[in-house]
Amino acid sequence: MKTMFQRVWEQHEVAPETADTPAVLYIDRHLIHEVTSPQAFTVLRERGLTLRRPERTIATIDHSSPTRTEQIFGGVPFSIEAAAQQVTQLQKNCAQFGIELLDLKSDQRGVVHIISPELGLTLPGSTLVCGDSHTSTHGAFGALAFGIGTTEVGHVFATQCLLQRRPRTFAITVDGKLSAGVTAKDLILAIIGKIGIGGGTGHVFEYRGPVIRSLGMDERMTVCNMSIEAGARAGMIAPDDTTYAYLANCPRAPKGEAWDRALSFWRTLPSDAGAAFDREISIDGSSLEPMITYGTNPSMVIAVSGSVPTRRDDAVFDKALAYMGLHAGEPIGNQPVNVVFIGSCTNGRLSDLRAAAEVLRGHKIAAGVRALIVPGSQQVKRDAEREGLDRIFIEAGAEWRESGCSMCIAMNGDSVAPGEYAISTSNRNFEGRQGPGARTLLASPLTAAASAVRGRVTDPREFMNG
């Protein structure tokens, strides 16, 4: 009896691990971007190496690229010279080494973890890596997907393989049913709060149970995306009819006979009923509420209706609250916010924008609040505009941008000023993540949109049922 992880791992072992050497694991799909790849290309040049299988790598530009339309399409230069140079370097590297690049003006460009599933490049049962910790996103399709460093990017370039020790398995079962106003983001924040920021170290999660089955692919990606925030190597969800229906519409997914063959293979992937996991926990999905972080890592999380906890004799906890300017015992509701960011590889997909629009429709963003809505890809942008979501956002007073990582990582000039509070649908509330001194409150698109309207932390359920 095997877990899905075991199956995918064993199917990709070029050489199994021994006491002396790690396993040699074959990588089906490699995603790269401008920030974590340049030094890997340098190694190839220094050693006179080429890409073993260039068609298995695809590149895009997302982290340091601007989100202003005139800077992507209008010839206005990047605000940050180093970012422009990094992009130019990726363009040169891809041209020299024969890698397909979804370049700045490509209508398929976007955040690397959003475009690969959209194109149908993320497939069940495959191995997928990227020099980016949120590669765990792709596990939503039943892929074994994990973030790697730049040295390993070079290893995949040269050999299409990685040296890996086999991680342990960790089943997370979510029972019950999510209430109205409670989203996949709230679920994963609650899971991280329960397990802790290092609780998944050395493990691959498998999310299962009725709540997970009920989620659409966008939501499953939100859950798997933040597996790394609990320290896990990867997070996986078994493929099912929801997965296959999504993939059937993707341009580069298998077609015709290849689809039929793939589908019969994908159906063999899920964990056997009695397969053993190294660790297991259960969560009651029915009891969850909209969640928000109050501290400086994603496990410091409470219900939007709750209060900042109190901890005695914990200097690290006190340091986090001092950074955040929040006080133990005080309700988080009504905390004023200065900036609202809706986007990122966590919550920058169409269903996220629809959720935000549902709240913002007919409302105005509070005076003095700056709201930035950044679609995860150009495809998401087009789809959103086709539905008129952009008009809802603009009429509400938000800024509607071109796709990219933007304010999630604040590398491209989109940032939060020192001391300001940002309610953000992204994945990390680390000190300075959204700019030096920025104070980040992580939440769902619903909560972010509701808070944008009120100008303070707001339970989105206040906007529901009329």
Partner: protein
């Protein structure tokens, strides 16, 4: 990569849990296309005031921290982003080893690939190290031991392959390239 056999050094202690790689090197310094000279940006937002002046009370800025090659951090060191710039910055600054009771997976892997030794010790040893900044320690990679000033030696886990690479100053790419015949066979089998 320089071979590592022994590291003899005093420690610098950052007594915080969950030190993430955004603290080790903030994202705005990742707009580089090389791996050189990142040491000056190490812990940038903790080391410097907004005007660029050094924060005198930050442990790395204290006079006794000068020349230390061993950093002791709280539990779950190196969590978060996969940026390899984090070990590059630590190495460029002069660190050769990081000690904690738990080290995040990707940071650990990245460190081993660059000759920065990630050392995981038991809770008791960790607490002692956190409470005794500046302790003189000896890391012996061959025997995988950390010797404390009391003379006590504690073992730390390290995979044989990684240890072999570090002791000999060889990187893993050479080994992977030597696997080409098996990779060809694998590709034939699955295609």
């Amino acid at each position: 990569m320089e071979p590592i056999r022994q590291i003899v050094s005093r420690t610098v202690v950052l007594p915080y849990t969950n030190i993430d790689t955004d603290q080790i090197i903030p994202a705005r310094f990742l707009r580089t296309t090389t791996r050189e000279d990142l040491g000056k940006q190490l812990f940038s937002d903790w080391r410097y005031e907004a005007n660029g002046a050094l924060k005198p009370r930050f442990p790395l800025n204290m006079p006794e921290a000068a020349g230390c090659a061993v950093l002791v951090g709280g539990r779950n060191f190196g969590c978060g982003s996969s940026r390899e710039h984090a070990p590059w910055a630590l190495l460029d600054y002069g660190f050769r080893a990081v000690i904690s009771s738990e080290i995040a997976d990707i940071f650990r892997t990245n460190s081993l690939k660059n000759g920065l030794l990630p050392i995981v010790v038991d809770e008791v040893t960790h607490q002692w190290l956190l409470a005794n900044p500046g302790a003189q320690v000896t890391v012996d990679l061959e025997s995988s031991t950390l010797r404390l000033p009391s003379g006590t030696s504690v073992n730390f886990p390290i995979e044989r392959f990684a240890r072999h690479c570090l002791l000999n100053g060889v990187d893993e790419l050479g080994f992977l390239l030597s696997q080409q015949p098996q990779i060809v066979l694998f590709e034939q089998k699955v295609s």
